[in-house]
Amino acid sequence: MTNPFSSSTRSHRRVAAVLALAALATAAACGNSSTATSTTATTGTTATTAALSGTITVSAASSLTGAFGTLGTMFQSAHPGTTVSFNFGSSGTLATQIEQGAPADVFASASTQDMTPVQHAGDIAGTPVIFARNSLEIVVKPGNPLGIHSLAGLDKAGVVAICVKTAPCGFTADQALAKAHVTIPTSKVTLGQDVDSTLAEVTTGDADAAIVYVTNAKSVGTLGVGVPIPTAQNVPTSYPIATVKTTTNKALSQAWIAYVLSPTGQAVLRQASFLPAH
């Protein structure tokens, strides 16, 4: 009886196994290369559903965490085989990251003031498009125990949380306070790196008030109470979105932007209390 495991048979099996693995690996690699297969134009997502694939990283302002999170899930189910990962943070920080070469595909900023330097540095492909607007609101502890009803009323607060001035929520808050002729002493202001951590100072911390966006105030639930700021004192901000020049998946990036601008995308943003772009 011949030995089924004779050395020549064994080496044949080994070669066959290696070839099979190589074939699998090549197939996987081909399947993942996105640029070759996508042929989309910027509009008309439905026609190109089958062609979209790959991964993109969207650097987005932290105020977009809820809305973009929802949109991301919806987009990925509508386009199986695609992955949209998010890098949320303060728009100022995100802009710096992109200028210094961070691998983002799309940049969604909470203000045009953070998008413009990135454009001037030549890191944006095409022209940014405004997809939403936001304005400021004060958030206080549940039940508003200190009775703060306006920016002027913030002098009743022991500690007020405001975003750092390099974040859009920060510089618009400073502008709103100037418009209302209100000065809060530095010793009463704690600075938050982005709007989410600023809000957290009231919802989970001991700050008495925070100046955040309307979208944050509307989503705070039982953890806080929103105090509106009248239009005369308020400072709205426009959110631009654009493809980053060094994107590795232009088609998917443009499809994402189109999705955000589509009625579906705008409906989700509206539900999160963002104002329309106009």
Binding site: V159, K165, T166, A167, T186, K188, T190, Q193, G205, D206
Partner: protein
């Protein structure tokens, strides 16, 4: 290669510094406030660590109290806990709605969060274990016969401690104190979570660096250099002693 791994970031810091504007960067209001506050808070934290930590180290090393091992584990915990987690824990304990904090606030009107005292508390929490560990190790490894001899000659416990024990462990005590101070100076996560980021009140050097990174990068680098200089001075003056060795 390991040395390069450790050295290259420091070299990067030195080369990217804006040496011509260094003095003006270090004298901006934000920088001056941060430097003063860091000095005050870290010295207070070190003082508190000495007052609270040395007796505890003595109890752990010299007595046979039950539950010593648990206490020792508890005192080491802040060393391994991520600092921001320490901050969250402090918030849950000493915040206005916290376990203990609610009584401090409701009965005495004391609020530790967003205060300089809060920053000191956060720094003490993370830095004191370094002192306890160093001093306990020194006490354990010293020759107990000196203390016995002193007792035999009629010295009381406190006199023995003051005139026999302390001089013997002083190198380790000094090393432990320096390490504790450096750790308190560099604390970020617990401070920003518990005490917030208020210029002049709780915005210590590391917090100011974090802020300046977005705003004035060269100020951030200047402040980082200040911290680096302090760390180098501490390490050079310790000259390898902080590992707990005792000179007899």
């Amino acid at each position: 290669m390991t040395v390069a791994f450790l050295a290259i970031p420091l070299v990067g810091l030195l080369t990217k510094a804006s040496w011509s504007t260094l003095w003006s960067d270090l004298t901006t209001p934000v920088a001056v406030d941060a430097l003063k506050l860091s000095l005050v808070c870290s010295l207070w934290a070190t003082g508190l660590s000495l007052v609270l930590g040395v007796p505890l180290a003595w109890v752990l090393a010299r007595t046979r109290l039950p539950g010593r091992n648990l206490v020792r584990a508890l005192t080491t915990l802040p060393m391994v806990l991520p600092p921001v987690v320490g901050g969250v824990a402090l918030l849950l304990a000493f915040g206005r709605d916290g376990l203990l904090g609610r009584f401090l606030y409701d009965w005495f009107g004391i609020q530790l969060t967003f205060s300089t005292a809060g920053a000191v508390l956060a720094e003490t929490f993370v830095a004191m274990p370094f002192l306890i560990i160093t001093v306990e190790a020194a006490l354990r490894s010293m020759d107990g016969r000196y203390e016995e001899a002193a007792a035999n000659l009629g010295a009381g416990r406190w006199t023995t401690f003051r005139r026999v024990t302390l001089p013997i462990i002083s190198p380790s005590l000094v090393a432990g104190t320096a390490l504790t101070w450096a750790r308190a100076l560099g604390e970020f996560g617990a401070t920003i979570t518990f005490a917030g980021d208020i210029q002049g009140r709780t915005q210590t050097l590391p917090l100011a660096v974090y802020l300046a990174l977005q705003d004035d990068e060269h100020v951030a680098i200047a402040l980082s250099l200040a911290l680096l200089a302090v760390s180098v001075v501490v390490l050079v003056s310790l000259r390898g002693r902080w590992l707990g060795a005792v000179s007899s």
